[in-house]
Structures are given as C-alpha cells and as structure tokens.
Symmetry: C2
Subunit: 490 residues, 2 copies
C-alpha cells in the first residue's frame, strides 16, 4: 500500500508545480526548468496566483483549477503559505507532496511546530510528504528531474537516498562525470513524514533499483532502517556513507539536519550486522556505486594483476593486501602460456609485469589468459588505457612542422593506439560478461581517458589502483554478506 503510494511519487503521470515562476534564479523556476528540460514523460501544471504562462506552459491560479488527477505536488513557496496549500492538495486528493520550502524544524522550535502541523494535516488527507527542506526527487523511468540544482543524472541501476540534499545532488552530478547511472534519488530533507526507512524499503522492493546508496547522518531511535536493510542486503547491495562519525562531525550534524548522530563509533558494527557496506569517503561512495553497477560479485578474494610497469604492480599489491585481497602465485602451466606472449624478462609472478610492452595485442592476450585462470576471481588491468598518455604531446601541429615530422607517420601511430584502446576496452567488457568475474581497468592518474560513449561506459575504470582495489574489496565484502545469509539459512 505504501509501496503503491510511493510508486506514484517516483512515477507520477501528472505534477502540480506550486510556486512555479518565470524568474531565473527562483527555485520555482529552477525546479520547473529541470523537470521540463529533463524531458519529463508526464504532464506538469504550473500553479501561480498570477496565472501567467510559465516556460511555455499554461499556468493555473490554484490547485483546484487543475483538470483531472494530480499524482504529485511540488511546493517551493515560503513556509508560511505551505499549510493552506496542503489543504488545497488534500482536497484535490493528491497522494504525494514534495515540500522543497525550508525554514521548518531545521531552523528551530517555531519551524518544528509548523512542520508537525503540516505533517499532521497531510496525514489527515492520507497524503505523504517528502521533506520539508528537501532538494527534490529524481526518477529515471518517467524522466522526472524534480531537483533544485541543475543536475543531469545519467540513467542506471543505482537508487539513492540522502540526508543531505547537497551531498546527494552532488553525488548525482559527480556520478554523471564518472559514468555512474541513477534509477531513483530522493533528498529526504527534514523527514517530517517520510523517512529514510520508507525510501529504503521502497527501493528494496523496486526491481529497477539494483544498487542502493545512502548518505546518513542520524537515524531516529525508533527507526526500523537497520532491520529493513538486513532484509534487503542479501538481494541487493546497500552501500552507506555515514556523516557524523566523529565528535566534530556529530556536532556539525546536530546543527545541520538536527539528527541525533548517536553514540560515536557504534555505527560500523551496526551497519555490518545489517549487511550494509560502509564506505569511508565520498569518493568511495561513487567508486562503490560504479563497481556494483557494472561488475559481477566475485566468488573469492583472489586477484590477478596485469601491469605494464613494475612500480604500479607493487603499489597495487600493497593495496590488495591492505584490503584483505590475495594475489595467488602463478601455476606452472600459466607461466608457460604467458611465456609464449611476453618478453623473456617478464616478472613470472603475480602481479604480471609485462615490462615495457606497449602494444595492445600482447596485453589483450594476457588479459584473456588471466580472466580464464580458475585460480582467481577478479582481474585488475593496469595501464589498459595508454592512448592519452602516449599521444598527448603529439597534438601540436606547430611543433610537428617545426621539427619537420611527417604527420602521417604520427597519425598512423595515434590511430594504432586509439584503435588498440578500443579493442582493449571491448575485450574488458566482453570477458567480464562471458566469464562473470570483475575485470577492472586502471588508468593510473588520469580521468581524461575515460570512456564517454554509453557503450564504452560499461568498461569499468578507475584512475588509481587504490580506488580500484577498495571498490573490489567492497564487492568481495558483499559476497561474504550473501554467503553468510546462505549459510545461516536466513
């Protein structure tokens, strides 16, 4: 029942945009603009007492004037006007209202009273409220981008709820830069009515949400968030980043979301019990979202590392051991296979150091052998992307002509490199799909070589081995969460 009601929140056919404005910079303009340029599949009704046309749409003076059913109302008007608008929405039988308006419980006692008042009123109508003081909602299915900041999320399997609107929307934006696609997102705001627990339960039941991400600051003592997470986690990963882990952070959180951040230091154990995967940095949250979106869950913690440069192999080996992952030694038959491809002075160990072999073909041949090796359940391919590093400096025509370098020779070399790159990427994707192990590319220090085409985005890439290893360690942690449940028969 709640699920159906929240389904109308995330998949509304009709939206009333209350406080719609034609003044750039006003939230009633920004949110409406985001909805329209996002290509929202349903109908949006701007509501403004002035009744003008806004952003090319006919405007309604009041909610009552809107013809037909409204699934969702979005309110951006000042706090003092919200209460009577809730009545209007109630009379119109609108099931869900997003209250973007701030100046409620987050600003003190007076705001808290007003917040309780509108929530109680809404409940009387059987209405659910997102917020108040929320930065909005995103949903890929109906192409609904009802957010305050002009973020354009990629579409993908990740659904997120966030107790900070800024952190959440910037994750959407950051995800878009790093190829992480989102299915649904909600900024939970003050959680006057709907709470993180509700969103988590909904995402758990929503088949389009395959990976769940959470930014949490504090959870109400009566919340069932953790048991709900425990029920969901064997079926889909629940990744959490906790703000307010320290005394200083908890103090800041109390003044931010008003959340009681709870006894310091108990969260880690509690998250673990609930089968949640805790990450320790904002970067880790994005990196994990990417890994869980693109990779299968490995069967073991045994990893092969392929590298073109010994030092990077050393750094990766350190990171693996520090994160509880293993580098099994190469069996004799595998060494023999690799001997046929590599120069005689290759490392003959794992990491497999190809030593200054820069062409794509031997790299690909090694990759295939390692992916098929039954002794490992994941492969890290370092330096798969050589294109940018190799060609960066040949771009200047001025330099070329000054040096009298034949341009065609360099163009051929460049074409060879980028063609090699495409082939390596395609093989990485193909092997991961066929063999069902994480096969992760590491570019080492450069995001610029990142794939931008949507097909290419399915090649999983990190700029540093440490980030790749931490993401892989999270995948392995999730395997144990699943296995643990299987063993104990839950």
């Amino acid at each position: 029942m709640d699920h159906l009601q929240l389904d109308r929140l995330f998949n509304p056919k009709t939206i009333a945009m209350i406080g719609a404005s034609s003044v750039p910079g006003k939230w009633g303009f920004m949110v409406l603009l985001n909805i329209l340029k996002g290509g929202y599949a349903g109908t949006v009704y701007p509501v403004n007492p002035k009744g003008e046309s806004i952003l090319g749409l006919p405007c309604y003076r009041s909610i009552g004037e809107i013809p037909g059913t409204v699934d969702l109302a979005i309110i951006t008007v000042p706090a003092s006007s919200v209460s009577s608008l809730i009545d209007d929405c109630g009379k119109k039988e609108i099931p869900n209202v997003i209250v973007i308006t701030s100046d409620f419980s987050e600003t003190g006692h007076g705001g808290a009273i007003l917040e309780r008042h509108i929530v109680e009123k809404a409940r009387g109508y059987g209405m659910r409220i997102v917020g108040p003081n929320t930065m909005g909602v995103f949903s890929a299915g109906p192409r609904l981008n009802a957010l305050m900041p002009p973020v354009e999320p990629l579409h993908g399997p990740v659904s997120m709820f966030s107790q900070s609107g800024n952190v959440g929307t910037q994750m959407l934006s950051w995800g878009a830069e790093e190829g992480v696609g989102f299915e649904k997102y909600v900024s939970s705001g003050n959680e006057g009515d709907l709470t993180c627990e509700d969103y988590l339960r909904y995402f758990g039941q929503d088949s389009a949400s395959r990976v769940i991400l959470a930014y949490l600051e504090g959870v109400d003592p009566g919340s069932r968030l953790l048991p709900v997470a425990r029920e969901i986690s064997p079926r889909k990963p629940v990744i959490v980043f906790k703000g307010g882990r320290t005394r200083a952070g908890a103090h800041a959180a109390a003044s931010h979301s008003g959340a009681i951040a709870g006894a310091l230091g108990i969260y880690q154990a509690v998250f673990r019990q609930a089968g949640m995967i805790e990450v320790s940095s904002t970067q880790g949250l994005v990196d994990c979202a990417k890994a869980f979106s693109l990779c299968p869950v490995p069967r073991s913690n045994r990893v092969a590392v392929l590298t073109r440069g010994g030092g990077w192999g050393v750094i990766t080996a350190d990171a693996l051991e520090e994160n509880g992952l293993l580098l099994p030694p190469l069996p004799g038959d595998l060494v023999e296979k690799l001997d046929r491809i590599l120069p005689r002075y290759w490392s003959r160990g794992n990491p497999i150091d190809m030593v200054a072999v820069v062409t794509a073909e031997p790299f690909m041949a090694c990759l295939e052998i390692l992916a098929q090796w039954e002794g490992v359940d994941a492969v890290l391919a370092l330096g798969g992307r050589t294109g940018k590093l190799a060609m960066g400096s040949f771009r200047s025509q001025e330099v070329l002509s000054r040096l009298g370098i034949e341009e065609t020779a360099l163009a051929r070399m460049e074409a060879t490199f980028s063609e090699g790159q495409r082939k390596v990427n395609a093989l990485l994707r193909q092997l991961m799909e066929q063999i069902g192990k994480p096969i992760i590319s590491v570019t080492m220090g450069s995001n610029d070589g990142e794939p931008t085409e949507s097909e290419e985005r399915r090649t999983i890439t990190y700029p540093t081995p440490e980030r790749a290893v931490r993401a892989l360690a999270a995948l392995w942690q999730y395997r144990r969460i699943k296995d643990d449940v299987a063993t104990t028969g839950q």
Copy 2:
C-alpha cells in the same frame, strides 16, 4: 663537487643523443622528440652510425665526431653495445650519461655483471650514470624533457626522484592535469651508480627545488638516504610514498626493482625520524605536492570551514577530526560579524553553514572574516566553485528554444556565476598571500571546474573535502617537523 657534476646533468648545455632514430615508436625517436618539442634551451647532437639527418638535425656517426664539449649523453641502444659507448663517452670527457637501455641487473645475474662492468668503467672516467633501465630526466630550467613517454610536465617548485619510471612519469603527467608543477625529475632506474641518496642530496642543495617528492621501493642498507633527509627536512619538505609496505608489495618490489624492501612495517617510524612526510596513496602524493607547492605552512591545527551545504560541513568535520585537526568554536564577536552577512538561520558554528546562499558576495565576505580570524590558521572553503554545477544544464540551445526561455536572461545568470567564480578564486589567492594561512577551495566531486589558466592555477583546489583535509594535515605535520627541530636546536 658531486653537486657541480649533477648540476651539469640537470642543466646541460649540450647533449649527445646516442641511438637517435627517425622511426616513430623507437625510444631513440621518442626521447629525442620529447627533448625537441619540449623546447630544450641547449644543443642536442643526434648520434647514429647511419649518419642521416634526424628530426631536422644533422646526425653524427660517432660520439667522437661531435664538435666541442658534451655535458650529457643519453643512450638508448641495446645493452650489448653500451659498454663500448661508455668508452667513447669517456674519451669525449662527458661527465654524465643517462642509460635508458634496459636488460641489466633487473633481468638477472648476467645483466647484473654487465651493469657492474659499465659502472666500473664509467667511474674510471669520473663519469656518473643515471640508470641503467631509467625512463629519463626532466629539468625545467633548461627546458630539458629527456623522458621516454611523451609527458609534458608543468613547471613548478617540485623535484622528484622515483624508483619506478612508470610511477614517476605518470606522476608528472597526472601533476600536469592537477596543476602541480615540477622543477626536476629523475627516474633512478637500477641505481647502478647514482642512487636516490645522490638525487636527494642534490635536490636538498638546489634552491629551485622547494618541495621534494619520492617514490621509494627499497633502500640499500648502506645508504645514507635517511640522514640526508633528516638534514634537509627542516629546510624543505620531503614527501615520500613507499611501495612494498606489505608482504605482497615487498614481494612484487623484489621482482621489479630488485630492491630488498626491508623489514615490513619499520618504514613509517624511520621516515618519521628522518622528518619525511609519508603519504599512503598515489593520489595523496599528488595532493601533497600541490599543497606544499601553493600553501604556506600553518602555525597550528585549528581550521575554519565555510560551506554552502550542511552535509559537506559534516563530512569535512569528520575528516578533520580523523586527521588530527581541530574546529574551534566561533567566538561571539565573529558570530556577530557573520550575522550581518548571513540569513538568520545560519549554523552559528564552525563549520559555518551558509545555508543555500548561492551568490558570490556573501561567500567572499565570510571568507575574508574567517581568513582574518586569529583563532584559526587555515580555512577550507567548500563550494567556492559553483559555476559548473550551476550552469551545466543550461548549455543546450535546443532545450532553451523548446522551452521558450529567454537566452539573454540565462546568459546574464551564467555570466554572473562565472564572474563570481573568478572573483572568489582571486580572493582565495589574495587572502592566502596576504595573511599567510592555507586557504583551500573544495569543489566537491568535480575536477572540471579546475582552473586552467596559469594565474588561476595558484588557487589551491581539491575535488573532495577528504583530500583537502589530508593535504592540510600533511602541511600541519610539516609544521611540527620544523618546530621539533627548532626546539631541539638542531
């Protein structure tokens, strides 16, 4: 004496490029091309028995044919030919030779014998050798880019030596993307003759090298690297990233550089004793290089945090406490000053949460107050860069015209934002210079807004608060290293 000889290595007036080639892809082509397009200020003599013109330069059949003095020879020919070339260089009285050629001690016993042979021969001539198996040398002064991969480093105060050529050159390339400029760089290769100790001592005495970076895998038991570091560290920061910290990493290092990685786990204490700043990730190495290049060293660990979004303040507060930095409470007079600028519901605590104030002016006014506050010695400014996030979605003309949005209104808004951005950046730089405290900007999840103009690059920026905090913690660690020496009177 050694210093003068190494000075000729890093500031050669003339270079013999032995094994120069006109075949793209060959190292004798790549290195020469890098030297030429880098705009090397001296004269380079290609040497090749075929004696053709290479890359527009007259070519010499042998080293002996080169007229006048040669300060530096670079050798890329196969290992078997190196020994007789060392003789030729010796007869020509060339003081320094970079042996890029591999297949020496790193490939086994035979190679080790050959390496010892050429080093002994070179020493007989009073010649110093970089490598063998090095990826080359960079030096900003003479614009010398004698590197194998086509990297184009930015010029700046950082000098680096690396026991992995790949790690080192990719740091140069990565640094260029993140605005970190280099003064000198050397890939130490097999360290058959010159070792890390020599390079460190040289950088310590070189006034142009203001920040020293090191990638280390292992140090010979007889090395004086650590006492040399201890002598230098009170005068300039020595930042080290250690490969082979774990059993797996040390094992990989042994097969890579042949270095004996030493007893596990003792390095941290040893680096600390030597006054070196150890970083724990490749990203940390780049981030620290940036902080030490651009920031003054703070007098205390007290920090003010300015943010536009409460959640980011919480995350930053956690990171600060986890890294031993403090957020002092705001004194009453400071609260009063900020009250005049901020909306009535601002946080009134540190972090200073401006709460949804998106314009530049109040941000700048707060920044100025915080920078001048004597209770803190560093400021983190979160969300100073709003340009990209704010404007990203307004770029599509198609969308604008479909929605009938007046383009000029949006263009005005965009101009306001980017003008605000420029003003904020200029103020960040100006305050840091005037007041002498680190004033660090954090973009939160986006590198795209990074300054690219050389003036703008002096604004210090990180994409995540965690990275900014770790870099700031390293600056604070360096303050204690300096103070410790001052106290103990060393």
